[in-house]
């Protein structure tokens, strides 16, 4: 089933066009990787979906609704959670308070309790550090907290912006393991990554952005074999 559909989406920052009429489809239950170099427009795509930036032309359909009619805070209630680049946790608040704020929009107490349970089940480290202020967590734990916060909003679609940024290889592996687990539990994931190797390993399908245009798309295994991907992102070691 088509969960999210971007049609001919164009975005400009002032006179500079960042996205040139891109088409992108996300099906229910998938992990989609959006790859590309710096400045290709990956983060811009995510920011457009969560309505943080205005759209020049094109359509964003989510579950048959036109997302362009929504605002950033109402998009969340539709079940889209965006984990921004650099994690965006609240360092002065405790882990619990971070999670409480994320559950702000969840109206049903029972649902909220379920969310807490699944979050602490996925991230036992966070449960241990519940009363600790988020700024004192390690980088990996902060990333986990950011993902946990997204889960607290009861999302069906999670947009992740560079979850591996600034993490050691071991922690990156851990983050991707958790993402796969979250996906298995029924959350669709749209993942923006520089680490193409890891991203394609867990993804079902992938898109490659270059200068604001989608130049390649296909299943993850196809992309892993594509010589252009290997040259540009996976490096010579893979040959």
């Amino acid at each position: 089933m088509n969960l999210l559909h971007l049609e001919q989406l164009s975005i400009a920052y002032g006179p500079i066009k960042a996205l040139h009429a891109i088409n992108l489809e996300v099906h229910e239950g998938e992990i989609i990787s959006l790859l590309g170099a710096n400045g290709a427009g990956k983060s811009t795509t995510l920011r457009a979906i969560s309505r943080l930036i205005p759209v020049l032309s094109g359509k964003i359909n989510y579950k048959g609704k036109n997302l362009l009619e929504y605002q950033p805070h109402t998009v969340v209630a539709q079940g889209i959670a965006h984990v921004p680049e650099g994690r965006g946790i609240f360092p002065g608040l405790t882990v619990l308070q971070n999670l409480q704020l994320a559950g702000w929009t969840v109206k049903h107490k029972k649902q909220l309790k379920l969310n807490y349970e699944s979050v602490f089940n996925l991230f036992p480290r966070l449960a241990e550090r519940i009363a600790q202020s988020a700024g004192t967590l390690s980088g990996g734990e902060q990333q986990m907290l950011a993902v946990a916060r997204a889960l607290m909003t009861n999302c069906r679609l999670m947009l992740l912006d560079e979850p591996s940024m600034g993490l050691s290889p071991l922690l990156v592996k851990e983050v991707f393991r958790v993402l796969r687990e979250i996906n298995k539990r029924g959350t669709t994931i749209l993942l923006v990554e520089q680490n193409a190797n890891m991203a394609l390993k867990i993804a079902h399908r992938g898109y490659v952005l270059e200068n604001g245009r989608i130049v390649l798309c296909g299943s993850a295994s196809e992309l892993m074999q594509d010589h252009r991907i290997i040259d540009a992102y996976l490096g010579a070691a893979k040959k």
Partner: protein, 339 residues
């Protein structure tokens, strides 16, 4: 899930503290009638009390919410003139008059604050500061040109309703409300907006609505302080609510420390007492007395260089801290040693 937000202990503590404080104040007031206690000291305490209401309400916006609003004296003016007008025009005396005039002052300043917030929070940062400063000037100039409010000559003949006791009651009520607001989930939302407004928005929070709510609350309490001020001085002029008053409030706020309810008490107390001490100290030469106004900016400069967060930035005195804060602090040191 363990629920840490147990406010029962605070209620008991706060109740006992209020009762003791109000008793002491009643005794002091009785003693001062016989001349046993100098009226001057009671006057200083009253001024401190009113300024603490002003500074702590400004703290909600500039400290907890992390915006930089510059028009707080304007809301004080709204409250002061509303209270002054009603207490002279209405056919009421005594207790009902106090309640009606102060209630109207709160509502009037709150409404003005809400409307200004609608416009001001379309921007952030420096622009917000300039817009709020502009509104402060608009309010003062508008009052100056309304004849029924006395115009530039000021408003005279306001009955004296405010005493140290009523200021203390208002201050305690203010702090009771602020304590619960700041330590609620909703109050943490303000801190979240301060620390990362983008992430707060991505949590599904309408940040403009929240900001405007906080701004309205702050304005309403500034209106309360203004009403108290008018009924204490019995004479108000538009000039006393211009940006100089706002600046004075900012000095007291940043001296005490932003994001801290205790900081507002400390900042106001230190500032006002040091100003009065300087006045006495320099009184041998009348020309030198006005030189004390040089000292307050100097204090601010020193604070900004040596201790940007103020005396008590983002920290609270133990008795104003929520009970939950005791548990995590030990954990933090314990865990960070382990890592």
């Amino acid at each position: 899930m363990k629920d840490y937000s147990n406010s029962c202990w605070f209620k008991i503590r706060f109740g006992i503290f209020s009762a003791v404080l109000l008793c002491i104040i009643l005794i002091l007031q009785e003693l001062s009638k016989n001349g046993w206690v100098n009226q001057y000291y009671l006057h200083i305490l009253t001024v401190i009390g009113m300024n603490v209401i002003l500074v702590s309400s400004l703290n909600l916006v500039n400290g907890y919410l992390g915006e930089f609003a510059l028009g707080h004296a304007g809301f004080m003016a709204c409250g002061a003139y509303t209270a002054a007008y009603l207490s002279t025009q209405l056919d009421l005396t005594g207790f009902p008059a106090i309640i009606v005039s102060l209630g109207a002052a709160i509502i009037a300043a709150g409404i003005i604050g809400y409307l200004i917030g609608l416009a001001a929070f379309k921007t952030v940062g420096d622009y917000l500061a300039i817009i709020t400063l502009g509104f402060n000037m608009i309010i003062v100039n508008a009052i100056q040109n309304i004849d029924s409010l006395g115009g530039p000559r000021g408003f005279t003949g306001i009955p004296k309703y405010t005493s140290l006791f009523s200021v203390a009651v208002c201050l305690l009520a203010t702090y009771y409300i602020f304590y619960h607001l700041v330590n609620s989930n909703f109050g943490r939302l303000w801190v979240a907006i301060r620390e990362n407004s983008l992430a707060a928005e991505l949590m599904g929070i309408n940040i403009n609505q929240v900001k405007n709510f906080v701004f309205t609350i702050a304005a309403a309490f500034a209106g309360l302080a203004g009403g108290l001020w008018a009924e204490y001085q019995q004479f108000i002029t538009p000039r006393s609510f211009d940006y100089i008053k706002t600046t004075e409030l900012l000095v007291m706020l940043y001296l005490g420390g932003t994001g801290s309810l205790s900081g507002s008490i400390l900042g106001v107390t230190v500032y006002i007492i040091s100003m009065e001490l300087l006045r006495n100290f320099l009184s041998f030469n009348p020309q030198l007395v006005e030189m004390r106004m040089i000292v307050s900016p100097l204090i601010l400069i020193i604070i900004m260089i040596t201790r940007q967060s103020g005396l008590l930035g983002n920290r609270e005195w133990r008795w104003l801290r929520p009970a939950e804060a005791y548990i995590p602090e030990e954990n933090i040191t314990h865990d960070s040693v382990k890592n």
